[in-house]
């Protein structure tokens, strides 16, 4: 089967999940995307992206305990799998290879 690369949003969400580490659920992941990458992403979009990543076994999720400040609703905590880390590194390598030499003045870049 043909390999499907991560989209930019999928890669960002994957990296934000890695950066948050433990207790990575919707709100801290969306905050990380905003604070670090300057990208304002709606929570529903974060979850839709995480669902796609989970479908590809790049992240796994588990339900936490329901808490009163969340109206008795449980958190869904995400964890990047080993396959997810490999996929993020592969994307990084692909981007690095594409960037290599691009910034050299002789290539006509500003």
């Amino acid at each position: 089967m043909r390999h499907r690369f991560l989209t930019d949003l999928e890669l960002m969400v994957l990296l934000a999940t890695l950066r948050v580490g433990e207790n990575a659920y919707g709100i801290p992941i969306a905050r990380e995307l905003h604070d670090t990458a300057g990208r304002n992403v709606a929570l529903a979009v974060v979850y839709a992206t995480l669902d796609r990543l989970e479908h590809r076994a790049l992240v796994s999720s588990s339900l936490g305990e329901p808490t009163p400040e969340r109206g008795g609703r449980a958190k869904r905590v995400f964890c990047v799998t080993a396959k997810g880390v490999r996929e993020a590194r592969a994307s990084q390598r692909a981007f690095s290879a594409l960037w290599r030499g691009v910034l050299e003045p002789s290539r006509g870049m500003p």
Binding site: Y25, G26, I27, A42, L43, A44, V45, Y47, A48, D51, L63, P66, T67, E69, R70, G71, R73, A74, K75, R76
Partner: protein, 218 residues
């Protein structure tokens, strides 16, 4: 004191949004940690739209069926009753009474040229939305989005379509009636009115019923 989420937004999310406990909890947590009502509304509406598109992607055949059902209901209504209501009753008998009572008052002119199309349009969009909601009660938001999206798209490109096929006469009745009377009226009256009436009808019709359950299995 614990802040309560905006009631209408929470109800809308509960009714049309994803059945996603974690997302609903996150929204409440964000709101209680100081986010604004506008933030909650924006997040809730985004959740409904995103869930609808994900649902459409996962149920393409059902989405196509909802578009066919919605348009069939819409056209059937205008074929059987809509045009009669707009032309014969509201544009005939009611208009005659208004002229007798108010003469050439600007309201009578407005009634004659545009307002008489409003009730048939409202009823047509409500009925088609109701039927789509009724027959797709397991995914009402997604299927209503698919149908109302098709209406709005056709609506937005109606003048291009007419130009392409060579004028209004080439369009079969009752599609012509929908295009040139109802949709053109709603275009001027408010673009959002069309999906709003479809969604309203769909919300009304989407409560689970035995008929709807049988239709879902087909």
């Amino acid at each position: 004191m614990t802040r309560k989420a905006p009631r209408a937004a929470a109800a809308l999310l509960d009714l049309l949004g994803p059945q996603h406990e974690a997302l609903a909890g996150d929204l409440l947590e964000g709101y209680r940690s100081g986010r604004s009502k506008a933030w909650y509304w924006r997040e809730a509406l985004t959740a409904i739209v995103v869930a609808s598109f994900e649902d459409i992607r996962a149920h393409k055949v059902l989405a196509a069926r909802s578009v066919v059902v919605g348009w069939s209901a819409l056209l059937l209504f205008f074929l059987v009753a809509g045009d009669f209501l707009s032309r014969q009753i509201l544009g005939g008998w009611v208009l005659d009474q208004l002229i007798v009572a108010f003469g050439s008052h600007p309201f009578v002119m407005l009634w004659a040229t545009t307002l008489r199309f409003l009730p048939a349009g409202c009823i047509g969009f409500l009925i088609s939305g109701w039927l789509v909601g009724r027959l797709h009660s397991s995914h009402p938001a997604a299927m209503l989005t698919a149908f109302s999206g098709s209406v709005v798209t056709l609506f937005a490109f109606s003048s291009e379509i007419v130009a392409l096929i060579g004028g209004p006469r080439a369009i079969p009745y009752p599609l012509r009636s929908v295009f040139f009377m109802e949709l053109s009226f709603f275009w001027h009256a408010g673009f959002m009115a069309v999906p709003a009436f479809i969604l309203l009808g769909g919300w009304w019709g989407s409560s689970t019923s035995p008929v709807a359950r049988v239709a879902e299995r087909l």
